[in-house]
């Protein structure tokens, strides 16, 4: 199994979710996060005083999938989240040892 983690622009999150649902992904964990990459945040002005706001709000999506689905899921997320502008985010895949469904105790593939 693999853990696919995607950090995307907040306004693209709904597109990503729809695309994943169409593919057959039934659940995911979503968090509101902040961070920065090459764009290095933005500037805000309050009563004439400028502030460099380093952290930009993003949505982080975590999905556990079968090994064979990982590449497809990454492709779906990238396609749905892409605007072609700086700040589109990242997707990464990591190996996963085991998963348990809390309600039933089912393990691994049965727990997805």
């Amino acid at each position: 199994m693999k853990l696919v983690t995607a950090v995307v622009k907040p306004h693209k999150w709904e597109d990503v979710r729809e695309a994943l649902e169409t593919f057959g992904i039934t659940g995911m964990t979503v968090s509101e996060v902040s961070g920065y990459g090459r764009q290095k945040g933005h500037t805000e002005v309050y009563r004439g005083a400028e502030y460099d706001i380093a952290l930009v709000p993003k949505i982080k999506i975590e999905i556990v999938v079968e090994d064979v689905d990982a590449d497809d899921v990454v492709g779906i997320v990238v396609k749905a989240a892409q605007t072609g502008r700086i700040g589109d985010g990242k997707v990464w895949v990591s190996a996963l040892d085991s998963v348990v469904r809390v309600r039933t105790g089912d393990r691994d593939s049965a727990a997805l």
């Binding site: 002005v45 009563r47 004439g48 460099d52």
Partner: protein
């Protein structure tokens, strides 16, 4: 004139609304999320303590007939309102709310870093040495009024004889340009200099944490200000017909002037921002509201509506420029009490000298009124600066102003009040049993 008394009860209540929650929200939204409660508590605390002090000796010190050297009135003559005719209670109520908000305004200059106990000791002493005397001098017939022994009479002479003798050029402060705004603005400046900057001032971001709160606060301030300005009418005669005529025409004028000056100040502030920074901001609109209200406060009975628009526009632009001064000079007037209240108060007080329809320079009446207005403003500034400095130094030497450095960084809400403004997490913590609470009182969970 029964309607007048009903209106004055409403007006007093409106001015109370300006402090709590108006000013508390305006300031609270501009502070950081870790100090929003302390910021709001400074307004609520000022309300509580000044309300009590005002009834005990505040009214007596401002308005009892027992004048002391034209600077203040005897605080004991009407102590606790004991010998006051009950028909004057409505006046006491209205004036009480002015003392409250003036003290509360100062808190914006010293946000995020001051012990609540120090503030609660400062406020009653400050109103006693600064606010009550200035209210007496300006509105109680003292040194900054038409008093024949007052400042204006010393400079430009008097007219009339005997009991009728008054200053030839009487200073104008309709609702508190000197008494309220210059007073609070100077006090804020002195305290900001004395107490020092917040840790990280000018380096780490200290941006407003909740601008919607600030905008609600600004709106409530505006609404309450109708009580503040329109309620400040003083009748020229006690003939019922004359009173009625004056009431109808003057209250309408004051309401309109208050509103159009404020509208113009918002436009001025936003226009300057658009030109200078590229964007018109919501904080700019909220600040423009207060700048306009401050400037029109002393002038609202003396200007035409068009004059008020000009005054408001000037106030909006000048205050928007003035809020940047603290970075240039390095004083941490956290929420711009100086930039908005001192500068706005000066614009209004001195602007009267140019724009007053009777006595203004632009109306061909010469520069005497302008001179009087400048002198009164300067005297008020000196008085407040001295009083605030003395109290500030005394508190610094005894209680101390600042919370510990570590506590200031952690956040003053928890340290001073044991609370946090926002609980946005579902995993908040565990409730202690009563036994644990008594054992560990005061220890953070």
């Amino acid at each position: 004139m029964d309607g007048y008394h009903a209106w004055m009860l409403i007006a007093a209540s409106l001015v109370l609304l300006m402090t709590a929650p108006g000013l508390a929200l305006f300031y609270g939204g501009m502070s950081r999320s870790k100090s929003v409660l302390n910021m709001m508590m400074m307004s609520f605390g000022a309300l509580a303590i000044v309300g009590v002090v005002y009834v005990l000796w505040g009214y007596s010190m401002s308005y009892s007939d027992d004048d002391v050297a034209t600077l203040f009135a005897n605080p004991f003559t009407l102590f606790g309102l004991q010998d006051l005719d009950p028909s004057a209670y409505i006046t006491v109520a209205f004036q009480l709310t002015f003392a409250v908000i003036t003290a509360a305004l100062i808190s914006g200059a010293i946000a995020d870093r001051v012990k609540f106990s120090a503030w609660m000791v400062f406020v009653p002493i400050w109103v006693t040495l600064s606010y009550f005397p200035l209210a007496h001098m300006v509105w109680g017939g003292g040194f900054l009024s038409h008093n024949p022994d007052g400042l204006a009479a010393l400079v430009f002479g008097t007219v009339g004889e005997g009991a009728e003798k008054v200053a030839e050029i009487a200073p104008i402060d309709y609702a508190g340009g000197t008494v309220v705004h210059i007073n609070a603005g100077v006090a804020g400046l002195v305290l900001a200099l004395l107490i020092g900057t917040r840790i990280g001032f000018g380096k780490t971001p200290m941006k407003p944490h909740n601008l919607p709160l600030t905008m609600i606060g600004a709106g409530l301030l505006w609404f309450g200000w109708f009580g503040f300005n329109v309620g400040s009418i003083v009748f020229a005669s006690d003939d019922p017909d004359a009173m009625y005529t004056q009431f109808v025409s003057e209250t309408g004028l004051v309401w309109l002037n208050t509103t159009v000056a404020t509208c113009a100040a918002v436009l001025g502030w936003l226009l300057l921002e658009k030109i200078r920074d590229g964007k018109a901001t919501s904080l700019g609109a909220a600040s423009g509201i207060v700048a306009g209200l401050v400037a029109i406060t002393p002038a609202c009975g003396a200007l035409s509506p068009v004059g008020s628009i000009i005054l408001g526009l000037v106030a909006g632009v000048l205050c928007a420029l003035a809020v940047g001064l603290k970075y240039r000079f390095g004083f941490d007037d956290s929420l711009d009490v100086v930039g908005v209240h001192l500068v706005g108060g000066l614009v209004g007080t001195i602007g009267i000298g140019f724009l007053a329809t009777a006595g203004g320079l632009f109306y061909g009446d010469g520069a005497k009124l302008l001179g009087v207005q400048v002198l009164v403003a300067v005297f008020a500034m000196l008085w407040t600066a001295l009083a605030t400095l003395l109290i500030g130094l005394a508190i610094k030497a005894t209680i101390g102003w600042r919370v510990d450095e570590e506590d200031e960084i952690a956040g003053i809400d928890f340290v001073e009040h044991g609370e946090s403004g926002y609980d946005l997490t579902v995993a908040g913590g565990t409730r202690r049993t009563p036994a644990q609470s008594t054992q560990k009182e005061g220890v953070p969970a």
